[in-house]
């Protein structure tokens, strides 16, 4: 839709702004000597308003041929043609208007005077067209800037939301409940392991809360957080949970958003190891190859296990977060392969101190 019609106030100010043009047109017609001042005003005022409406259609060629990146011949041809057409329509409509006026007593003989002024009016029409086109281009660039700002603000909000979701989800309450239940169990029988679990739990919480405050974190720190988590889980699952690591120092130095891996490590335990009677091994891999950082989290699972609720939430969060932070530069894949679940992250390798 034409932006002038977007809000009712705009049309009124637009028409008000065209009034000075009516004065110019009156001067032009009256100044030629043929028209009396009253006659000139009677013709100029309605014709200006008419043009004000006609020139609203200028918006369409302006939209079709944006200034940015347009080639001059196309720009000139488009607007030249449109200007001649608009002016012709205007002058013809003006003729009609004059004939109507002529039928009123004070304006006898007006048509002949008008016919003599057609070339002047036509030239004025073309001039007005270019004035209007310029105005429209200004208007369009305003609108575009506003849209761009709005879109950028929306994107920023989306990225922020993905972050918030990730932070809210970083600690699954069920993990806490189950861990506290294990502490409650160990207190009677094995107080020193109960104490160990309390400390492990506290350390995991303290570090993940601190990590959540930061914008980015070294992969090495992120993995140590995952180790704290797995240590706590190992007290619950005993021999069923084993961990294997293949971490390269170059990978450890890279930066990632904090707690990026946490939902994946949790999935590996909750949807993987815990579905197997004999348990299994969670494998963590991180390495830098050229300018890419690659992280792999692999675990066995029972393909016949009933699907548990909440599955997929963690994966969705990781995907949304990566998309918000890296855009198309991030690759995230989660696949199932012969009883094993693989989560693979590949992002541009960034290190501290480099921009």
């Amino acid at each position: 839709m034409h932006p002038i019609f977007a809000r009712p106030g705009r049309l009124i100010s637009y028409l008000a702004a065209s009034l000075p043009l009516a004065a110019v047109l009156t001067a032009l017609l009256g100044g030629a000597g043929a028209f009396a001042l009253g006659e000139a005003a009677a013709v100029a005022l309605p014709m200006t308003l008419l043009y004000a409406f006609l020139s609203l259609s200028v918006w369409y060629p302006c939209r079709a041929v944006p200034l940015e990146g347009a080639r001059w011949p196309i720009l000139l041809a488009t607007h030249g043609t449109a200007a001649l057409l608009t002016s012709t329509v205007w002058v013809v409509l003006g003729e009609g208007l004059v004939r109507v006026l002529e039928s009123l007593a004070p304006f006898a003989g007006l048509a002949a005077l008008y016919a003599a002024q057609v070339p002047t009016l036509f030239a004025a029409g073309v001039l007005f067209y270019f004035l209007s086109a310029g105005l429209h281009y200004v208007l369009i660039s305003f609108e575009d800037a506003r849209h761009r700002e709005k879109r950028e603000a929306e994107l920023a909000i989306l990225a922020r939301e993905a972050e918030m979701q990730a932070l809210k989800a970083r600690i699954q309450p069920h993990f806490l409940y189950n861990s506290l239940n294990a502490v409650s169990a160990l207190i009677g029988r094995d107080p020193s392991r109960a104490r160990e679990m309390c400390v492990g739990l506290a350390e995991f919480l303290r570090k993940s809360l601190a990590a959540g405050e930061r914008r980015s974190i070294r992969v090495g720190e992120e993995l140590s957080l995952a180790r704290h988590y797995l240590d706590v889980e190992r007290i619950r699952f005993g021999d069923r949970l084993a961990v294997e690591e293949d971490i390269e120092a170059s990978g450890e130095e890279c930066l990632v958003p904090p707690l990026l891996l946490q939902p994946l490590v949790e999935n590996a335990v909750v949807h993987g190891i815990s579905t197997l009677v004999g348990g299994g091994t969670v494998r963590l891999e991180a390495r830098r190859t050229g300018n890419r950082l690659r992280i792999l989290i692999e675990n066995p699972y029972d393909p016949e296990a009933p699907v548990r609720p909440r599955g997929g939430l963690g994966l969705r969060l990781v995907r949304e977060r990566l998309a918000a932070l890296y855009g198309p530069d991030a690759i995230f894949a989660a696949k199932r392969l012969e009883g094993r679940h693989l989560a693979i992250i590949s992002v541009p390798a960034r290190v501290e101190g480099a921009s």
Binding site: N181, V183, A185, R236, G238, V277, V307, R308
Partner: protein
């Protein structure tokens, strides 16, 4: 006090089992008859040790708590003990005696124990509909059927199921050339299965529609369904109408 209540503990985490065993055996008149780390073990132990009550975790390997419940003697009182609160509604539907959230106080566990005792004392059997409700995963159709054979458990994915025949108070499930008996009514089993794939074609027969090869006219009012392996299943007039409606909607083999 009369006989002690026989209690079975089922949880896949060892510390959780230890805690239940410690608190329950400390209470008077309780005999802990076993501790199990997964659903298969639980079903076997329940068959061998005849517990009065089972304290049951929900998220476990092999069989989840609801599947275990569906395979237990309905006279056994079930108390769910879990960290997850979102199964509570379903636990109520399957008439579990109680639903205890981890971590819990000793008093809360003893309260659940008292309720289990009460159910056992009254020899109150819950509605058999609880079996059907237990088999249906929350917000979806059953993806597999667990069947008990003495102490053994077979898990049959519904895609492997050919047809089911009603036999008195039980059903016979046919899958991959084998027959399994399950104590459940055909109606309640049908209620847990996706009606777009499994159809009751006769008072006593439910078929997997994917196995249907063709339909033959048997008499004036009845048809017979020929399955992929050649099995002939009687189809009643109502069954034929249901089958036609389903196949028309699917664009499957013509009747």
């Amino acid at each position: 006090m009369t006989d002690p209540i026989r209690v079975l503990i089922v949880d896949d985490e060892e510390p959780a089992r230890v805690l239940l065993a410690e608190l329950l055996s400390r209470a008077a008149g309780v005999l802990v008859v076993g501790e199990c780390g997964n659903g298969f073990e639980a079903v076997r132990a329940a068959a061998e040790k005849k517990p009065d009550a089972v304290f049951l975790d929900i998220e476990m390997p092999k069989l989840d708590g609801f599947e275990v419940l569906s395979l237990l003697d309905p006279a056994i009182a079930v108390v769910f003990v879990t960290a997850y609160d979102h199964y509570a509604v379903k636990a109520f539907q399957v008439e579990a005696v109680d639903y205890v959230l981890k971590p819990y106080r000793q008093e809360r566990l003893l309260e659940a124990l008292a309720r289990a005792r009460e159910r056992v004392a009254r020899r109150q059997r819950p509605d058999p509909a609880r079996l059907a409700a237990a088999l249906r995963p929350a917000g979806g159709w059953a993806g597999r059927i667990a069947v008990r054979d003495g102490g053994d458990v077979h898990v049959i994915p519904v895609s492997k199921l050919d047809y089911v025949e009603a036999r008195d108070d039980a059903v016979a499930l046919k899958a991959e050339g084998r027959a399994y008996r399950k104590t459940q009514t055909l109606a309640s089993l049908a209620a847990s299965l996706d009606p777009g794939r499994f159809l009751r074609v006769h008072r006593s027969f439910l078929i997997n529609v994917d196995r249907l090869r063709r339909l033959e006219l048997y008499s004036k009012n009845s048809h017979v369904a020929i399955l992929a392996d050649g099995t002939r299943i009687p189809v009643s007039r109502e069954g034929h109408a249901r089958l036609k409606a389903l196949l028309d909607g699917r664009g499957g083999p013509a009747a």
